[in-house]
Every structure is written in C-alpha cells, then in structure tokens.
Amino acid sequence: MRLMSEKRLDRFRLVEGRGELLAMVALILVVVVLPISVLGYQFVLRPALADVRTIDVMAAAPEAGGFQPDAIRVAAGETVRLRFSVPDVPHGIAIGPGLDLDLGHVDPGQVKEVDVTFPEPGRYTFYCNSWCSPNHWRMRGTIEVYDPQTPEALPASDGPDPVLESLTARGVDIDAPHETPMPPHGRPSAARGVDVVKQMGELPAVLTAPEWRRTLSPAKAWEALVTAGLSQAEAWDAVAYLWLAEMDAERLKRASTLYAKNCAACHGEAGDGQGVAARSLDQHADMNMLEEPVAFNNPSTMLGGSGEIYYAKLRRGGMGTGMPSFGPIFTPDETWMLVDYLWAFVFDLDPNQGP
C-alpha cells in the first residue's frame, strides 16, 4: 500500500516538473519572443525589406507636441518614405516650398505616405495646412537635406532674401505704421484706369523706374499722378490699373487658393481683418495673437504701404504679433503672387483680368 502511494507521488512530481517547464517556455514565448518578433518586424525586418527608408511622423496639434519627429535629415538623392498619422484631430500635410506636395487632410485613424527625393542639399519644411488649433500655423517640421559627400556640413541655407536685405540696407522698418495721406473715396477701378493711363501718354518718371510696383506705395504713385495733372479720382483709377496690371486669371486663382488656405482664417475671407480666428480671439486666450489682423480692404492703411514691405512681412512674419512667417513654406514667387492678390482687396479688378 505504502509503496504504491509513493510511486504515485513520484509520478506526480515528474508531471509537476514537466508542467513547470512548459509554463516557463510559454512565459518566455510571451514575454520575450513575441515582443522581439513584433518589434523586430517593425524596426528591423520591415525597414530591411523595404526598398526605401521609412520615417513615421506623428502629426499632433501644436499644444500636444506638434510633429514628432519635427526634424528629419536625409541625404541628397536619397528616397525616403514619409508616413504621416494623426492621434488627435484632422491635420493637413504639405511639404514646401516650391514642391507642390500637398497630401491633403489626414484624419485620426488614417495614414498617408509619400516618397520624396531631394536632388540638392537644402532646407525644406513640412507643415500642417489645415486649421487644427489656435496655434495651427506653428505646426511645422524641417527637412534637412545634406550632401552625402560631406554629411557633417550643415546644409547651406538658401541665403538671405535679397528683398529683405535691401530693405534692411535702406533702413526701412517693415513694422512701422503706414498711413495713406489722402485715401480714395469709393473703390478705385482698374477698368476705368486703363483709359486714364492710355490718355496720359507718358507716365511720371517714378512710374517708369524698374520695380516701381514693388518699391513704391500706391499713395506715392498717386501723388506723382496728381502732380502730373490727373484729378484725384482719375489718379486712383490709374493706380488701380497699374498695380493690378500683372494679374492674370491663372495667378489670381493660385493666389486665392493660397489665401483661403493660409490667410483667411485671420485676415477674413473678404480681407476685412474679421477672420474666424480673429473673431474668436476672446474665447481663445491661448491664441497668442497680440494684434488684430490687418484689414486689407482698408485703403487708409493699405495704400500707404509698398509691395516689398508686405512681401517682407509675409516672409519674416510679425514680431510676436501673431502674423506667422511664411518664408519657410512659400517660394518668393508665391509670396509676390499673394502680395499682388492683396491689392485686389482695395482695387476693383478689370473684369477682363479674370474671375
């Protein structure tokens, strides 16, 4: 009897030992092998199998950390796959300047990816282009494209903007107020201005100098035209025509799209400074907008400024005023296009010029 029971006990012990071993193996499988295989797939196997380097970018609202990572380094000529996902609210993803790369909006749960190759060393910006928070425009990241021959060297920046440099050299303060001494009554019209300019024959000297449309303010041009003998109203119409002359339907359309996406929330769809973001200023103390957005349709301030001042303000941004800096995301040509578009808020376009 006793023997039997001991034998049985032995057998039990044996089974118990085997069970422990099995449990141990299962535990190791779960705790060690599973994570390693999952992470290994994610971080080792998949990148190794992928034909291009993939960079996962999490796009969160600025209050929640913005882009993570917000700085990417790639070699010139290398193709990388950027894969964007969002954790919180919808964002829009674009890369610029001058790349025409707009991935559109990415909603929570969605992933959008794009393969990019930068042939030359330089600096690019990936940015959110869908209003996602009061601080939306701060949501940006940089792409540094280095020369594979000299990976340590910092990429040469595009160099200072010649317009900004020239303004600085001349001691022009782009933040100074600029009033129009005698603003027009009613809206000057480019359509009427065509005939006025035709009848004038020769234009005053200041209006024949190169680049006048960018360096001269409409108010200064108006003074010269009145001195040359035009009536005040005629002179404003002539100015409207001269300032909008380079506008064609194509540029107008591109500029209005840029404006709607990037500016209207603050400056208003009608350019009246009453954008929705400005309107809800009191609701959003965190807006960080220290000044009211400018009304572009107000001739008494708008016509006292010159194109180059507006260009510079756009590229550099305000000094803590809430006006974002658009230099990192727009090309100089896109910036000029926008400046030209701003004039259409104070002047009536010639209907022949487009929509």
Binding site: D88, V89, P90, H105, D107, P108, S130, W131, C132, S133, P134, H136, A260, K261, C263, A264, A265, C266, E269, G275, V276, A277, R279, S280, Q283, H284
Partner: protein
C-alpha cells in the same frame, strides 16, 4: 325639423371656413432661408433650424476654431468646413420631420456630442388640409350621433 338638422351643422361649416380662409402668419409659398451657421468646439450655432416643408435652405457654414464637418441625416448632405473657407449648402426641405445634423470630422474630445437639429414642419396647405379633414370628420360624427339614421325596416313596420 330639417332646418334644425342643418343648423346644428353651422358651427362646423363656420370652422371649416375659418381654417380655409384665415390668413395665418405662415406663408403659403415656400421661402428661402438664408442662414449663416457657425461650427465651433463643440456646437453648431444656431443649433436648431426650423423650416416648412418645401422651403429652400441656403446655409453658409463657417468653422471658427478647427476643422469641422456637417452631415445632415435623412438628406445625406455632407461637407467639410475649414476655418477661413466657408462652405455653401443649398437644399429644399422636402422631407417632413426632425433630422439631426452632426459634425462629421473628428474635431476633439466632445466631437460625438456636436449635434444640431433640422425641423421641417408641414406647411400651411398641409396644415389646412389636416384641419379641414378633422372638422369634416367631427361634423359627421356629431351629426350621426345627434340624428342617428333610423333603420328603414323598423320604420316601415312601426
């Protein structure tokens, strides 16, 4: 006797005339409602739209803080509104009842509660028709109760 019978119906005839002719403040012709609706976290303003059947609704949607959406149940209208780019929606209220409109873009924590309501009331012609039917029905019932038709058979034998 016969005059009595007709007279007893007079109140109903009067009521029917009133229903048909009274110039209620509601207009018969469908109107166009031009409404600017703002969407911000986490509500629509105005939250309720009341229109009559057949009316045209011209909505300008503005998002004032972040991107929102607008989805109207029943009508299947959907759009996405970004701050600074207002969206125009136009439709004819051709379905009577209450329809919810909701934000269709996940816009933040309370996004599921961003809901408003479109109430499409039957219009005046419809209301008049309903009223008239009710009056005629009531009149008939009243008449039948007061002057029940005698069974013709009983009549002859009695």
């Amino acid at each position: 006797m016969k005059r009595d019978r007709l007279l007893s119906l007079a109140p109903f005839v009067g009521l029917a005339l009133v229903i048909l002719l009274i110039p209620l403040p509601l207009t018969v012709k469908p109107v166009t409602h031009v409404v600017t609706m703002t969407a911000d976290q986490f509500a629509f303003d105005p939250p309720v739209l009341r229109v009559n059947y057949g009316d045209r609704v011209r909505l300008t949607l503005q998002a004032t803080d972040v991107v929102h959406g607008f989805y109207l149940d029943g009508y299947g209208i959907e759009t996405r509104v970004e701050p600074g780019i207002s969206q125009q929606i136009e439709f004819v209220a051709d379905q009577i009842g209450k329809y919810r409109f909701r934000c269709s873009v996940s816009c933040g924590t309370l996004h599921p509660f961003m809901i408003g309501e479109l109430v499409v009331n039957p219009n005046l012609t419809f209301a008049r028709a309903v009223g008239l039917t009710a009056v005629i029905l009531a009149g008939t019932l009243f008449y039948l109760r007061r002057f029940p038709p005698r069974e013709p058979r009983e009549h002859t034998t009695a």
